[in-house]
Amino acid sequence: MKQIAIYGKGGIGKSTIASNLSAALNEMGQTVMQVGCDPKRDSTRILAGGRFIPAVLEEHREKLRVGKDEYAIDLDRIVYRSPGGIYLVEAGGPEPGVGCAGRGVLTALQILKDLDAFETYGIDVAIYDVLGDVVCGGFSMPIREGFAREIYLVCSGGFMSIYAANNIARAVQRLGLRGDTGLAGIVCNSNGDEALERAVIPAFAQRLGTAFVQFVPRSPVIQAGEMEGRAVVEYAPDSREAEIFRNLARAILANDTRVIPTPIAELAELETMYREHLVKK
C-alpha cells in the first residue's frame, strides 16, 4: 500500500488537490482511501457529493461515553464509500479553542490501524490530507508515527505559502531522520501568477532536493466542479484539468523516491531566492 500525505499552508488548496488526485487514482483502478486530518472535517466534502461525513473521533467519543473502547467501533460507521467508490474518512477533532487537535489526528489514525481499515477494504493508496501548516508536534504525527511515507508539499507562488512549505520541509527533515518517511515532491496549485510560479517553485524544489511534480493552473473548471461537489475527472472528464490530475496520479504512482529535504535555514536566503525570480519574471 502506498501512503502519501499532502501538507501545505492553510487555504492553499490541499483538499482540492487531494480529492482530485483520489478521483484520478480511482479512475485508474486503484482502491483509494482519503483521510482528512483536520478538525474542520471538510477534506472529503467534494468526493462525498458536497456533504460532511461523520468523523472518527465523534464515533470514538460516543463509544467512550458508554464505557467502550475503539474496538467497539463499527468500521462502516467511520469509513464512507463515495458514489465513485473512493473510501473516505474524516479524523475530526475538538471544538475550536479547546483540546488538542494534533493528538486527535493521531488517535483517529491509530483507530483506523487498530481496526485494520486498510486491509479490510484492500486499499492500494491512502492519502492523508493534513491540516494547514505544521503548527505543533501533533500535526506531524502522520509522519512521525509512520502513517505517511511520502510527503507532497502543496504551494503557490505566494511568498507565505513557500515559507510555510519550507517550514514543513524542516519538520520532514527532522522526522525523516528517525523513520522511513521522506519528501516526495512539490505540487504547485497556482494562484494565477503562472510566470512567477513556473520559475520560483521548480527552483525551490531543487533547493529542497526534491522533485517539482505537477503544475495545477487556476481554473474555473476546477472551481465549478468543487461547487458541484464533484472531482474534475467526473465533472469534466475530457478537460485539460482532468488530464493534469491524471498526470499527477501517474507521477505519484510511478514515484519510488523520497528524500530527506534540505530546507532553507535563513528567512533572508528564502527572500533572496524569491526576489530573484520576481525580477526575472
Partner: protein
Amino acid sequence: MEHGRSRRKTPEPEKCRDPYLRCAFHGAAQTALGVAGSALLAHSPQGCEYLVNNAFAWQACDYMEVITLCTKLCVDEIVHGGEELLERTILEAKDLPISALFVLSACGPEIVGDDIVAVCETLQPELKFRLIPIECAGFRGSQYDGIDIALDAMLKHLVNRSGEKIPNSVCLIAPHANANPTWIADLDWVKGVLAQMGIRVVATLTHRTPLAELEHAASAEASLLLSHDAGQKAADHLSAAHGIEQVCGGIPLPIGMTNTERWLTALGERFDAQKTAESMVVEGERMAMATCRRKWPMARFFYRTPAAIVADATVGIPLVRFVTEDMEMTPDLVALYTSQRSVRDLLERELDDLDLAPTVVYGTDVYRTRQALAETKPKVVFGSTIERHASEGLGVSHVVEVVKMMRQFRMIDREYFGYTGILDLFECVQNEWTMAWRSREKRYEARW
C-alpha cells in the same frame, strides 16, 4: 540525497540531571491540602495524582477529614478538552461536607487549554462551598514555585479585605516549604515561641488551617515567613495589599545557636517581648549545653573537617552557620536546590559575615552536586540519601541525612528549629559517625 542514507544519531543523554524538587503541581497540592475541612480536586491524569497522595503525607492529613478527588483524564479529554468532565466531577462533589474545593490543573489540561478558572466561576453559584482554581501545571516550575502559585490563588480568592488589625498577631507563611521531613515540629516550635511571647497566630499558610483563618489573614499585624524557598511573594502581597509588615525578614531561620538567638531577639524586639526572648535564649543555651555535657556527642572528632551542605535554602542556609560555629567544621561546598535572588542575597550575606568562601551551587541537580563534590572533596556531607549515592567513590566518609525530599515514614516529628532542634541535629551527626564504624566490610572482618 536518497532517503535513509545519512541517518543522524539522536544524541545520548550524557549525564543524569535528576532534579531534587518535584513539579509545581506537587507544591500546589502540598499547600491546598494544608486547609482543614476542604477537598482537593486534581484536574489531571491519574499519574499526576500520585503527587497529591505524596502531598497528603507531607501535610500529615487525616483521611477522615481531607478528601482528594481526580478527574483522571484520558486521551478523550486531551483531544476534546476536559472542561466538561471537570464540570461533571465538581457537580458530583456538590454535597460533600466541605468548606472549600481546590481545583488544581496539571500539565495536560493546561496544554490543551482547559480554563479551570472559567469553569469554577460558572459553577460557583450552584455550590455551597468555595471553589478555588489553582493553575499549577507542573511545567510552571518546581514544587516551591507551586507553593507560591497556590498561596497567591488563596490570598486573592479567600482573604477578606482588612478589617480591624489584631494587636500582637502574626500570619505564618509557608511552613511546609521546608526540606526537613518533620517540618511540622518546626512549626510547632514556632507556635510555642509565639505563645510564650504573647503573640497570636491569626492564620497559618498552610497547615491544618480552617478556611475562616485564611479569610481573616488580613487582620494580622505582621507576617512571619518560615521558608527561604517559597512564600516571599505571599509576604510581599500581604504587605502591599493589607499593610502587613514582615518580621524576621532577611535573617536565617532559627537553626543553630546564633541563628536561633538572632531570630528570637528580632521577634522579641518587634513584639516588645525582649525579656521573654532573652530568657528563652539563656534557658535554651543552658539546656543544650547541659545535655551535651551529659551525652558526650563526638562532634570534637569533626573539628575543622571539610564539609558540604546540600539542601534547600530553608535548611541549607542556616546550616552554614551551624556547621561552622556549632560543629566547628569548614564548609567547602554549599549546594542549594533553589536559586532565586533572595536566596542568593541571604547566603552571600551569611558567607561574608562568617568570612567563608566555599564553592556555591544554586539550583543544583544531582549531576551538578556530584561534580561539585568531586571538585571540593569534602569528608562530611550534610544532605540526603541522594548524596549517599551521588558521593559514591569520591572519598566522602560521612553523609548526615538531615533532609529528605523523598517520602519517608516518620511517626514522630522532630524539629531543627530552636534548641531541641540543635540537639536533634547533633544526634543525626553522632549516629552517622557511629554508623560509619559499622560498615558491612568491617562487621564481616570482625566475625571471621
